[in-house]
């Protein structure tokens, strides 16, 4: 399966950034992920391709996180974002997301933003589809409660 670099670069980058919380490092890891992907045989299945990409990215992020002390990592604020311009619900949404565990936050990104199939995420985190679905439903319920409120405004 030929990889669409334009589509997957953003997704892998978001995943790496969420793991290491440093923009430059996340870009380096993203590029390293794709270069290492080229060294593997190509899969015909999209699911296997995605699983390989995220496995490589996850391993690189884990190695990087262990290498760099946590104090050196800083949370990069959104470019040019003025917090006063954020409407109340975005702040609440951010608070909800911050209250999630690291793994739940990653799962939110993978499933709801990167649209990675459930079975791929289940394999990445070594849990059953059913356990993952329950987790997703629980998280989604909390998120929709805040997103839904905004829609009513």
């Amino acid at each position: 399966m030929s990889l669409d670099i334009n589509e997957q670069y953003d997704k892998i980058y978001r995943y790496c950034f969420l793991r290491v919380r440093h923009k430059e490092t996340a870009e380096d890891l993203t590029q390293e992920t794709f270069l290492r992907y080229l060294e593997h045989p190509q899969y015909h299945s999209e699911d296997k391709t995605l699983q390989l990409l995220y496995t490589i990215a996850g391993n690189l992020c884990t190695d990087e996180f262990r290498r760099i002390k946590p104090s050196e990592l800083s949370e990069t604020a959104s470019d040019g974002k003025d917090m006063e311009d954020n409407i109340l619900s975005d702040v609440q949404l951010k608070q909800v997301l911050d209250s999630l565990s690291d793994e739940d936050r990653e799962i939110v990104l993978l499933r709801f933003v990167n649209e990675v199939p459930v079975n791929v995420i289940a394999k990445l985190y070594n849990i059953s589809r059913f356990a993952l679905n329950r987790r997703l439903n629980r998280i989604l319920g909390s998120l929709r409660e805040h997103l839904g409120k905004e829609e009513l405004i």
Partner: protein
């Protein structure tokens, strides 16, 4: 999830845009193309080596000496007449000694033993040939005689077995010949039985109530804005159709509550009524596992909670699978089915997409997803996808 919601989550996560995407994309394409170009010489060498190996194998097979067994090439059909004298005829086995044996052909003695019950209607005779010696004749095993068919005729006293001269079909009478054998297959039984099954107790409590600190699940789609016609919803249906092992209209025959990895799941035995795509056929029966269902409260608490509950053994916990109205026996739905069976019993099926998102029930002339309520389609739309 809509694009707007995705953007909000991305912003809330505080992820900035990357800077070096464009440059790297060009570099990646260049390296991909280099990798795909393969030198010709190695391919030629591989083909040549494969051809040489094939030639060696063929030569070995053809030149290898073969052992030929000589059957004599004699197709003589020996006609053997045996007479069996019966003394007392009793039910069951008639044991009769052969008093006279005649045979045409080379020197040989054939002993015929009647070992089966002989009636007016049917009978069997077994002819055994064995070599040996007796007082008068030296015996040797007969050469293999080709008997194409045997016909047994019998009356109450004499059983004559003759080797047929012309090939004739062997007829076998059977007491059960009059039984009617159905000519159309009734559908395959592909159902499986879960290893663990639960019955619902008189008292039930939802997992949300039990855990109390979790806000109620809204059903995985309720309240979400509906997309317009002809946009992402159609694409989602198309995508679900494309990734499914099968898309069927089926009736729920039986529901069994069970668990996998200590998570409540429900096994649905369904019978296919109509096939839109895939390798299933009408009247096939299979088992589809969906997330959610009932399980004993004490088991749920043990694996999900830190604090015990009083009188837990009196309760069943209901775990929602992202659906406000779980399926009931007798419901007829469109199922998008996957054969990806990880963590499932052998032979079981799973939904193609997120749990109840893949199950559609007919309401007001269209099929609506039990999970993601914004997903819906008319029957004609599904028939179009099936073409």
């Amino acid at each position: 999830m809509t694009d707007k919601e995705k953007r909000k989550i991305t912003e809330a996560l505080g992820i900035p845009e990357p800077d070096r995407k464009k440059e790297f994309a060009e570099e990646f394409r260049r390296r991909s193309e280099e990798k795909q170009k393969k030198p010709i010489m190695p391919i030629v060498m591989r083909i040549t080596a494969a051809a040489a190996m094939l030639a060696v194998c063929i030569g070995a097979i053809t030149l290898f000496p073969r052992h030929k067994t000589d059957f004599g090439g004699d197709d003589n059909i020996e006609i053997t007449e045996t007479t069996a004298s019966t003394s007392e005829q009793v039910d069951g086995v008639i044991a009769a000694g052969t008093t006279k044996v005649t045979t045409e052909g080379e020197n040989s003695i054939i002993v015929t033993t009647v070992t089966a019950k002989t009636t007016d209607k049917n009978g069997t005779a077994v002819t055994t040939v064995r070599g040996g010696t007796d007082g008068e004749h030296s015996l040797r095993p007969t050469t293999a005689a080709r008997t194409t068919a045997a016909r047994t005729t019998g009356n109450s006293n004499v059983t004559r077995t003759t080797a047929a001269e012309l090939p004739e079909p062997v007829t076998t009478t059977s007491e059960r010949a009059s039984e009617i054998i159905p000519t159309t297959a009734p559908g395959r039984d592909l159902t499986v039985s879960p290893g663990i099954t639960y019955t619902v107790r008189d008292k039930t409590i939802s997992s949300d109530e039990l855990e109390s600190h979790v806000s109620p699940v809204t059903g995985g789609g309720e309240g979400a804005p509906q997309d317009g016609v002809g946009s992402p919803i159609d694409q989602k249906i198309q995508h679900m159709f494309d990734i499914s092992y099968a898309v069927v209209l089926a009736k729920v025959d039986k529901i069994v509550y069970t668990s996998i990895d200590r998570e409540a799941v429900t096994a649905h035995n369904i019978t296919v009524e109509k096939v839109f795509s895939g390798d299933l056929t009408e009247r096939d029966r299979l088992t589809l596992f969906l997330d959610g269902g009932y399980m004993p409260a004490e088991e749920y608490i043990e694996s999900h909670m830190t604090e015990p509950m009083e009188n837990a053994e009196e309760y069943s916990v209901y775990v929602s699978g992202g659906c406000d109205e779980p399926l009931k026996e007798g419901d007829v739905c469109v199922f998008f089915i996957s054969d990806s069976r990880r963590y499932l019993p052998e032979g079981a099926f799973a939904p193609a997409e997120n749990n109840y998102d893949s199950v559609f029930i007919k309401r007001n002339g269209e099929y609506v997803s039990l999970g993601e309520k914004s997903l819906r389609f008319g029957e004609e739309q599904l028939s179009e996808l099936a073409r």
